[in-house]
Symmetry: C2
Subunit: 369 residues, 2 copies
């Protein structure tokens, strides 16, 4: 038995239903900018030690909710757990990004790739259940995975990259091998997200962090087609509730219309996108999530509040002139920086809640309608 949801504003906004304020959560909200997170991570010894331990993962997931009145929690994990379960050997060196011990560099390894035994990812599903119990209905819990393309970038490059030379060389030279990786990734991600939903995730998000490095045409063929393949396989309901699916393509502004038609309930946007225009184009089909530049959080609180209001004003009052509602979830356009002063996050969350309530009192406009 799970407790009833006390604050469902996030889920309602995802489904373009009325809310009293604009819900807000922050990508990477459980992270290194919080001293309590750093303390737990030190006890865990390593990032993977933290992510694979149910108690630690639960603890850090809830830390930002103790500080700020955020409207959603997101599972503490990494986008690369699936390829790790495929046997690529994920690790995080101190102060560096992810590394795979066994990147995909030859045809044999690529042909041998298969959807992993989900039992290897049990630590994730156990964490989802544990976090749901710890949340006790405060806010909904978001599960997530990297997108098939984004996983493939790391799997081929072996880690982060400046130029994506190896993965793009494979893509342009041996597209059939690339498609094989992506098909396996898509089926694995779908199974992984469905297991998170079974374990209690109330929404799921696909992070296409590197979709935006692709050329027009290649994005549709090598990234979006496989995100669609994930979405088509997802359970969209659990316990009688719709489980919204969010797709976030960093740098995906040029393909907003196509992403909005992918089957997602919500499209995440980075800060380069004009939210007024985005709502006018796709707001009747999907909710929008975003899109403050995380660097705004280095400015003084007054400037943070002004920039947050600009984002809310750009979307406009979510209720349309015709009485229906469009959906906006406030977020950053990228993960929060480790250098963010924690008290600045308070200023942001307060401003979003306060200004979005004010905005709902304004007379209807045609903004975004």
């Amino acid at each position: 038995m799970t407790a009833p949801l006390l604050n469902d504003s996030f889920l309602r906004a995802c489904l373009r239903q009325p809310t009293e304020h604009t819900p807000v959560w922050l990508m990477r909200q459980a992270g290194r900018y919080l001293p309590e997170y750093c303390a737990t991570r030190a006890r865990a010894g390593s990032f993977m030690g933290l992510a694979t331990n149910v108690d630690y993962a639960t603890e850090v997931t809830l830390q930002p909710l103790e500080r700020y009145p955020l409207d959603a929690a997101i599972l503490f994990s990494d986008i690369l757990t699936v390829p790790d379960a495929m046997g690529l050997g994920l690790s995080f060196a101190q102060g560096e990004g992810p590394r795979f011990a066994h990147p995909l560099r030859d045809e044999g390894a690529i042909r041998a790739l298969a959807v992993p035994d989900l039992a290897k990812l049990r630590y994730v599903f156990d964490a989802v259940g544990s976090i749901r119990r710890a949340l006790n209905g405060r806010v909904p819990l978001i599960g997530f995975s990297g997108s098939p393309w984004t996983l493939a970038c790391y799997m081929v490059e072996g880690g982060g990259s400046d130029d994506y030379r190896l993965v793009k060389t494979l893509m342009y030279s041996r597209p059939e091998l690339m498609h094989h990786i992506l098909a396996v990734n898509a089926d694995a991600v779908a199974a992984y997200l469905n297991a998170q939903i079974d374990a209690g995730a109330q929404a799921v998000m696909v992070f296409d962090s590197w979709g935006g490095v692709l050329a027009d045409g290649a994005f549709q063929a090598f990234s979006l087609a496989y995100t669609r393949r994930v979405l088509a396989q997802l359970k969209r309901e659990a316990g009688g509730q719709r489980v919204p699916a969010i797709v976030f393509t960093k740098g995906g502004g040029p393909w907003l219309d196509e992403i909005a038609d992918s089957g997602a309930d919500v499209v995440g946007l980075d800060w380069t996108v004009n939210l007024t225009q985005a709502r006018a184009r796709v707001g009747a089909r999907v909710a929008l999530q975003g899109n403050l530049d995380p660097n705004v959080l280095f400015a003084p609180p007054q400037a943070i509040q002004a920039e947050a209001c600009k984002v809310l004003d750009a979307f406009g009052p979510p209720q349309r002139a015709d009485g229906g509602w469009d959906g906006h979830i406030f977020n950053l356009g990228h993960g929060i920086s480790q250098y963010t002063p924690p008290e600045h996050v308070s200023a942001l969350v307060e401003a979003v809640h306060a200004h979005s309530r004010t905005l709902r009192q304004r007379p209807h406009t045609t903004n975004g309608a």
Copy 2:
């Protein structure tokens, strides 16, 4: 006395005049992928040793033209020569990006910033004159600079950056200081480009390499406004010839219309932009330059040719159904990688010339009109 121009296809395309083929040049075409460049650089001892020596700069500028039938030469220099002349102390450590010894980190240093004495940049203007003589009319010579915003990124960060934290903190916290830097940069860049034109540059390009990291709204206020300020001050004619101005904003796709209205003759595009749509939107106002992903050059020649044809086909035949011409200059959407096999560049240039000639024989379509 300068020799008459034997191949003016680049200049004609910039001005949306008829050409027999689509002209092609490559950003960073004189660079580390060429063994002869590496040999000259080794003799020069350092990057700045190369850039500040007129004979070396002339030699490496012409190297790619000896190998490939490119339709334009671009001055060998760096986008950061102007802040170096302002006293910030530019250097390039082996295998690393640019570094400033004296980045702008306090209000005093920012307030003291001024347009530099152009005599400090005489090595650039001397190189322009020397290259023009060496080219002897083969193809036109492009001069260039970083944009005011892009220069400011490096000047504040002190080098490259992953997150632009320092420069964005300044921008969001002390916008008036940021505007001061940008105004000085704009006036300095304009004077610098005008001096290049006086020395013989037949076109100029403003590289807004980091404009795309800005949020919608911030881009217009902190990048595009100052690119406009540069363009408004430029000499647009020399020796009775129009001197086209090219603006390239990496990641600038979301703001294509506004960039096209900046006063530029040509807008450079990266590979995320759909060239058919871009032409339909702004092709009647400006020529377009781009937009192949440089990673295509790691694929086998046949795949390179296919991708080059896709780019040319996306723009379509430059002559419109009404008999007028739109302009397309083929280029990469970013500088060529140092790992590019030189023979692959031959395949690209040949494909562009051959296919663009074929395209001109096709019956007119409404594509892009």
